[in-house]
């Protein structure tokens, strides 16, 4: 029982990383209706910018805020420059455009900041929480920040006119345009917010996985898995999904004899697929009913 408890806590700590990323994934899904493969690399690039600002002597929180603002702007620019021209193209072509963006960001970051591993500071410190060894203050801080972001998003989408306009633009662009919502700018805003959330996620993840151009590969994959498991239409579901992926992964590694250690990723993914077979729109997602 104690082993189980330990593994669940460790899973929660990992899950916080995935939940952060899953939140950014859901954000972009709300704006453009499919996934952005370059999301992880965008977050990585933002984190490098924050690192660079700190290397030039800025204090943590100023660098943090600047990086978030710059990421937001960069997200809007990417929407206007890159996504706009292919918006009418088939979805697969858009996905290839994202793969291209992935490749460009990854390679440029490697060229500018090289591939050596850098450490990234954390404002929460690394002391163990409650005197135990299970979870440290940084991981607790990460969980806290994720939940705060989730709450802010909830308030934004449910409580503000802009949030309502964004939801309308995503759900039904034609009708939204008819009632005077500028759908194009709502999409751009979605890109900006996704980039900003990604930046926060990147800066929280970097102290754990260390900063380097390929740091987001695994994280993004788990983030996708978490978002899809939780349901791509629900931010809270995505966060829950992210935590669930972390816990499932850890438990599979510990409790499945023989196979567990080596194949824990495989088992985690198989379990997710099995869950999806019974709930095809994710655990908390809305069922999409299409009109014939």
């Amino acid at each position: 029982m104690e082993l189980l408890q330990q593994q669940v806590m460790a899973g929660l700590a990992n899950g916080a990383i995935y939940a952060c990323m899953a939140l950014a994934v859901v954000m972009i899904y709300q704006a453009i209706d499919h996934l952005n493969f370059a999301q992880g690399e965008m977050a990585m690039f933002s984190t490098f910018i924050a690192w660079q600002l700190m290397a030039w002597g800025l204090p943590y929180w100023i660098a943090f805020a600047l990086a978030v603002v710059m990421s937001f702007a960069a997200g809007v620019v990417i929407d206007r420059v890159l996504f706009r021209p292919v918006q009418k193209a088939p979805i697969l072509s858009q996905i290839v455009a994202f793969i291209a963006l992935f490749s460009i960001l990854n390679s440029s970051a490697g060229q500018i900041w090289d591939y050596t591993i850098k450490s990234f500071p954390t404002p929460f410190g690394h002391t163990p929480l409650f005197g135990g060894t299970l979870i440290d203050t940084h991981e607790a801080g990460m969980i806290g920040v994720t939940l705060v972001m989730l709450a802010l998003l909830y308030v934004f989408f449910r409580g503000t006119r802009l949030g309502l306009a964004m939801r309308a633009a995503a759900a039904n662009p034609e009708s939204a345009r008819l009632v005077g919502i500028r759908v194009g700018w709502m999409t751009a805003l979605g890109w900006g917010m996704a980039a900003a959330i990604g930046a926060v996620a990147g800066m929280l993840i970097a102290p754990v996985v260390f900063l380097e151009p390929n740091m987001m590969l695994g994280v993004l994959l788990y983030g996708f898995a978490g978002a899809v498991l939780g349901g791509l239409t629900s931010p809270a579901g995505a966060v829950a999904g992210g935590f669930a992926v972390g816990i499932i992964e850890n438990l599979a590694g510990t409790f499945i004899p023989y196979f567990g250690r080596e194949l824990k990723l495989t088992f985690a993914l198989i379990m997710i697929v099995v869950v999806l077979m019974f709930r095809p729109s994710g655990l908390f997602g809305r069922r999409v009913v299409s009109r014939v």
Binding site: H34, L35, L82, P85, V86, K88, A89, P90, L92, S93, I95, V96, A97, I99, A100, L101, F102, S103, I104, N106, S107, S108, G110, Q111, L221, F224, A225, V228, L232, Y258, F259, E262, L263, L265, T266, L269, I270, I272, V273, L276, M277, P280, S281, G282, V292
Partner: protein
């Protein structure tokens, strides 16, 4: 071939009638192109230097794998990120048969196909319940799991674990005076001719129409009495079969299999090839293969440090120029020529597309390394490509000039570089005036 109704959409008519007509009347440009390409492909290994044969064989192997993905995604509308797994299963089937059981390489191809068909069919069953991104995630799980399963310690006896397995490459038959590379090239060429022809027949058959109907509207397809579940799982199996045979061929060609050759990045490469070649086009798959194999080399030769960025940049350029891939672009350009009047947007995009593909073809020819070993053939190819690009562009411009009711002789300006730019701008800005005779149709 196609008639142009009032709204300018070309409708193929020939296919329905062609069955009754005599053979010589049924031969179309398409047949000529296929025959010509096959003859060129047969001659290449005899004329080209030895080091070029291996990559060209790989191009064909990738083309076959992309065709497998295309049957599933392009024709049946099921998205897959898991084809690297089928490719890996095919390669490992061949390697295990040859390395552990000493079976002749010839039998590995059908065996790999059969194994992959079974695996694909079984995977197609749970995939029935999943759509779009959820299916992408499930297939993605397959792709990430595959290298780990291949490395798994209990299977090491067969798979060779992290080390992988070496394969003794097949010798050419003793009566043929050719090298192993050339023999593998011809073997691959034979296999892909057979399988491309089979795929072309499949998509034109009753089953093929059912497969495409499911893509276009699953509910309507089911209402018309198509057993959608059966067709979807079988398509999954056939798609895996194609990719599996490609994997087995790759094992023979490379002479070695290792788990880390079959990661998710292979799937992504296949997806890129699929989109660049054209979703739902059979011939486009080979173009996709060419692109997937040579583009990283080109990017690397331009700048080693920034090769990823250059790769991404070229990819973006191609997607901007031709959002529906090479085959879509060919169709688009052809419709442009047969349209009553070439409007400015279509003129610009066709022009842009021809230039982009032209530059990429030039880069591929340069990257293939022909320039060093036989400069004469290299320069002849180069000149022919450049003449081809400018030729098509001139034809476009002349058509546009005539649509604007200008003298076609203005087109000569295209060959004077500074005036070329001015003429282009003029061509783009001017308003199209359709011919009275054509608008009357």
């Amino acid at each position: 071939m196609t008639s142009v109704p009032k709204d300018g959409i070309a409708v193929p008519q020939a296919e329905a009638v062609s069955a009754q007509r005599p053979l010589h009347a049924r031969l179309t440009t398409r047949h000529l192109i296929i025959t010509g390409t096959t003859i060129v492909a047969l001659l290449i290994p005899l004329a080209a230097p030895g080091f070029m044969i291996f990559p060209l064989t790989e191009v064909m192997v990738y083309g076959l794998a992309i065709l497998g993905l295309n049957l599933l995604t392009g024709f049946n509308g099921q998205f897959s990120l898991g084809h690297s797994a089928f490719y890996g299963i095919g390669a490992y089937t061949a390697a295990i048969m040859m390395h552990n059981y000493d079976i002749s390489y010839f039998w590995t191809l059908p065996a790999a196909g059969a194994v992959c068909f079974a695996v694909g069919f079984l995977f197609g069953l749970p995939a029935l319940r999943l759509q779009n991104l959820y299916l992408a995630l499930a297939t993605f799980a397959l792709a990430t799991a595959m290298p780990q399963i291949l490395k798994f310690h209990l299977l090491e006896e067969w798979t060779g674990g992290v080390q992988g397995l070496p394969i003794l490459q097949p010798d050419p038959p003793p009566f043929l005076p050719i090298t192993t590379d050339q023999w593998l090239y011809y073997l691959t060429l034979g296999v892909i001719l057979l399988m491309f022809a089979a795929a072309a027949n499949l998509v034109r058959s009753r089953a093929g129409r059912a497969i495409m109907a499911i893509r276009d509207n699953p509910i309507a397809a089911a209402a018309m009495g198509i057993n959608t579940s059966l067709y979807k799982t079988i398509t999954f199996g056939v798609s895996a079969l194609y990719t599996g045979v490609a994997g087995a061929l790759s094992a023979l060609v490379v002479g070695f299999v290792a788990p880390d050759s079959f990661t998710i990045f292979l799937s992504i490469s296949l997806l890129v090839g699929l989109v660049i070649g054209g979703v739902g086009s059979i011939a486009g798959c080979l173009f996709g293969g060419l692109f997937v194999l040579y583009l990283p080399n080109i990017a690397n030769s331009i700048s080693t440090g920034l090769s990823g960025a250059i790769y991404g940049f070229i990819l973006l350029l191609v997607i901007f120029a031709t959002p529906s891939g090479a085959s879509g672009f060919v169709r688009f350009a052809r419709d442009g020529f047969s349209a009553p009047a070439l409007d400015r947007a279509r003129f610009l995009s066709v022009w842009f597309g021809i230039s982009t593909y032209g530059v990429i073809t030039l880069l591929i020819v340069k990257g293939a390394g022909l320039g060093k070993s036989s400069p004469l053939i290299f320069w002849i190819t180069y000149t022919m490509i450049i003449l081809g690009i400018t030729g098509w562009q001139t034809i476009m411009a002349v058509k546009r000039l005539s649509d604007m009711r200008r003298s076609r002789w203005w087109g000569i300006l295209l060959f004077v570089p500074p005036l070329n730019m001015l003429l282009l701008i003029a061509l783009f800005c001017a308003k199209t005036r359709s011919h009275d005779t054509l608008t009357a149709i």
